[in-house]
C-alpha cells in the first residue's frame, strides 16, 4: 500500500505540473497553438500583408487574424484592451504617434530580449524609422513595419499639356514646372483649379489627424518646425506663412468640402482624375498608378519631395502587448520577424508596400518595377517628424482644432499658431 505521504507528494507534483502547463511554459512549445489577433488600419498595406498570412500559417502553424478598421477608431479600440488585464489583441500595429504614449504607459513589451535571443538582424532597418518609432532610450518597443512619409503627388499629363503650359507661361512668365517652394505649389494648385477645371489639390483638412498630418508638410516645406532639440519653436514666421498658404489652398485650390475630407476622400478624388495633386503618403502612388483601380490616372501621376525639401515623416510598427501570455508573445515575435524579414519585405514591396529596410529599397526587382523608388527614398530620407511624445494624439487634436478654426476664419493665423505652440509646450511639460 502506498503511504499517505508519497500519495500526497504525487498529488502535489501532479497539481504543480498542471499549474505549470496552465500558466504556460515559456517558448516555442505553445506558440503554434496561439491565434494571433491584430487590429489593423484598413489601407492597402494591410491587404498586402493579409495576402501573405496563409504562407506564414503554413510555415509555422500559427493562425493570424486581422480586424480592419479606419485609423480614427483604432486608438479607441486598442486602449481599453491595453489597460485591461488581458488584451484581446496579442499583436499590435502601432502608429508612430502612439509610440510615445504606449511605452510610457507600460503597455508594450520590450523587444530587445527577443531580438537578442533570436539573433534577428536589425542592421538593414533604416535608422530614422527605428528612431521615429522608439523615442525612448530604455528599450526597443516597436519594430518598423512600413513607412508613410509624405510627398507631393501630381498629374504629369497636366504638367505636359500644351494648352496649360501656354496659359501658365502667359500668366506668370515662367515655364510650367514642378514647384520649388510652397508658395509656388499653392499658386500652381490655384492655377490648375482655374484652368484645368479640376481641383488643384485634393486636401484632407478634416480636423484632427488628417489636417495636422497634411499641415505638417506645409510647415516643414516652409522651413518651420515643431521642436528644436526639445524646445518648442512652432511659433515662428515660417509657421504663419505655412498656415496662410495652407488656408489659401483650402479656399482657392482644393476641392469643395476639403474641410471635412479625409485620406479616403482625397484618394477617391485623385483616383477619379478630379484633382491635379495631393500632399499624401508616397505609397499612395502605387495604388493610384494601378490601371485596374484607377484607370483615369494610371501612368499619369508622378511624385516629388515636398517643395522646400522636407515633408512629414511617418510610419507604423509592430509591437507586442505586455498583458498577453508568454506563448502569445513568442508567436507574435515569430510573426514580426517573418513579415519584416528580407524575403517577405521584398515580396510585399513588389505588391506596393512602403519598405522600412534599406536592402528592399536597393533590391533590383523592386527598383525595376517601381522606377520612382529613388524619389521615394528621397521622400523618406528628407522627412521630418511630428512631435512624438506621451501626448502626441492629444496634441494632434489641439493642433487640428486650431488649424480648422483658422481655416474657417473663426480665429486668426497668428492666434492659431500661438495657441498651437502653447498647447505643445503645456503638453510637453506635463
Amino acid at each position: 500500500m502506498m503511504n499517505p505521504v508519497s500519495r500526497g507528494l504525487q498529488t502535489q507534483t501532479a497539481v504543480a505540473a498542471v499549474a505549470l502547463a496552465l500558466v504556460g511554459l515559456p517558448g516555442q512549445a505553445f506558440a503554434e497553438d496561439v491565434v494571433l489577433r491584430a487590429l489593423m488600419e484598413d489601407v492597402p498595406e494591410t491587404t498586402i500583408v493579409e495576402k501573405m498570412l496563409p504562407e506564414f500559417t503554413e510555415q509555422t502553424g500559427i493562425e493570424v487574424e486581422f480586424q480592419k478598421i479606419g485609423y480614427p477608431d483604432m486608438h479607441d479600440k486598442l486602449v481599453p484592451q491595453l489597460v485591461s488585464s488581458n488584451s484581446y489583441y496579442n499583436l499590435l500595429a502601432v502608429d508612430f504617434l502612439w509610440a510615445g504614449s504606449f511605452p510610457a504607459a507600460g503597455w508594450l513589451t520590450d523587444l530587445t530580449p527577443y531580438i537578442e535571443a533570436s539573433g534577428f538582424d536589425m542592421e538593414p532597418f533604416i535608422p530614422s524609422m527605428v528612431d521615429l518609432l522608439n523615442p525612448y532610450d530604455d528599450g526597443l518597443y516597436v519594430l518598423p513595419k512600413y513607412n508613410y512619409s509624405m510627398g507631393l503627388l501630381y498629374r504629369t499629363d497636366l504638367m505636359e499639356d500644351p494648352a496649360l503650359r501656354a496659359a501658365y507661361t502667359a500668366q506668370t512668365g515662367k515655364d510650367l514646372a514642378p514647384p520649388a517652394t510652397l508658395a509656388d505649389y499653392v499658386a500652381l494648385s490655384k492655377f490648375m483649379k482655374a484652368e484645368a477645371g479640376i481641383a488643384g489639390a485634393a486636401m484632407q483638412a478634416q480636423r484632427g489627424d488628417p489636417n495636422s498630418m497634411e499641415f505638417s508638410n506645409y510647415l516643414f516645406s516652409a522651413g518651420g518646425a515643431y521642436l528644436d532639440n526639445g524646445t518648442v519653436v512652432l511659433d515662428s514666421p515660417e509657421a504663419r506663412t505655412a498656415l496662410s498658404l495652407y488656408i489659401d489652398n483650402i479656399k482657392n485650390g482644393a476641392q469643395q468640402g476639403a474641410l471635412s475630407a479625409t485620406l479616403d476622400d482625397t484618394m477617391r478624388l485623385m483616383c477619379a482624375g478630379d484633382a491635379f495633386s495631393m500632399v499624401s503618403y508616397w505609397w499612395m502612388l502605387a495604388q493610384i498608378d494601378d490601371p485596374e483601380a484607377c484607370p483615369a490616372v494610371a501612368g499619369k501621376v508622378g511624385i516629388a519631395v515636398m517643395p522646400g525639401g522636407h515633408g512629414e515623416s511617418g510610419g507604423w510598427g509592430w509591437g507586442i502587448p505586455k498583458n498577453v501570455s508568454d506563448a502569445e508573445k513568442e508567436a507574435a515575435w515569430q510573426f514580426i520577424t517573418w513579415i519584416q524579414g528580407k524575403e517577405a519585405s521584398i515580396a510585399r514591396a513588389l505588391d506596393g508596400h512602403a519598405p522600412v529596410r534599406s536592402d528592399v529599397f536597393a533590391d533590383p526587382a523592386v527598383v525595376a518595377k517601381y522606377p520612382y523608388y529613388d524619389i521615394a527614398a528621397q521622400v523618406v530620407a528628407s522627412g521630418k517628424a511630428f512631435p512624438v511624445f506621451t501626448y502626441s494624439a492629444q496634441y494632434q487634436n489641439i493642433l487640428g482644432t486650431q488649424l480648422s478654426l483658422a481655416a474657417t476664419g473663426e480665429t486668426s493665423v497668428d492666434d492659431a499658431i500661438t495657441t498651437a505652440a502653447e498647447g505643445l509646450e503645456k503638453l510637453m511639460a506635463r
Binding site: V79, A105, R207, A258, L259, S260, T390
Partner: protein, 293 residues
Amino acid sequence: MERFGREWRIGWAFAAPGLSMLTIVMGFPLVYAIIMAVSSMTLLHPQLTPLTGLDNFAVLLADPLFWDSLVLTIRYSVLTVTGEFVIGLGIAVMLQSVVRAKPLYFAIITIPMAMSPISVALIWRMLLQPNLGIANHLLESMGLPRLDWLGHPDLAFWTMATVDIWQQTSFVVLILAAGLAALPRDVYEAAEVDGAGALYRFFFITLPMLRPVAAIAIVIQLINEFRTYDLPYVLTRGGPGTATEVLSLFAYRRAFLGLSLNEGAAAAFFLLVIILILTIAFFALLERGSRRP
C-alpha cells in the same frame, strides 16, 4: 394600509431583484464615474488615488472649448427636439386619419429609427459628399450650386441637426401616435356637437390631453440629444473648427485622446447634471400645468 405591513414587505421583496440589478448595472458605474471625476485617474496612471477634489471640474470650467461645446450642445438639443416634435406631431396626426395600409406607413416610418446611428451617419456622409455625393448631384441637376454640407462651419451644424431629426422623428411619431390613439373619443364628439372646428379641437382638446405623452417624448429625446455622439463622430469629428463639437465628443477627446479619464468623467458628469436638471424642471412644469384650473 399599515406603513411597514405585509403588503409593503411583499412589494419590496418583489422589487428587490430588479432594484439589485439596477444598482449593479447602473448605480455602480455611475458612482465609479463620479469618483473618477474627482480622482487623478488617467490612462497613464490608472489608479483613483490621490483624489483631487474639484480640480478636474475647475480645469474644464477654465477651458473655453468646454463652454463652446456646452452651448453648442444646448442649441443642438433644443433645435433637434423641437424639429422632431413638430414634425413628429404632424405625422402622427396625419396618420390618425389614415384608414388603409396604416401598418405599412408605420413600418416605413420606423425604418430610420431601426437603423444604428453609425450606419445612418455613414450613409448620409456618402450622400452629402460634396464631390461625389448624390445630394449635390441633385442640386446641380436642378441648376442649383453645390453645397459644402459638412465642410462649411455654418452649414455643418444644420446638416447634422437635419440628419438627426430625420432619424429620431420616427420615435416621436410612434409615441405620439400611441398617445393620440388613447385619447377618449367622447370629448371630441361633444366638442363637435358644440360646433368646435378642427383647429379648435386640435389646440384645445388634443394638445392639452396629449401633454403627458408629449412630455415623455420630449424628455426622452432631450436626453438622447444631449448624449449625441455617433453622428458628429462619423459626420464631422466635431469640425470644421468646433462647429459641431458637442459635449459628449469633448468628453471623449479628453478621456481617450488626452488620456485623462478623470477629466472625461468630469465632463460627462456635467452632462449628467444638466440632463437631470432638465428632466426635473420639465416634469415640474408639467405638474404645475396639469394643476392649473
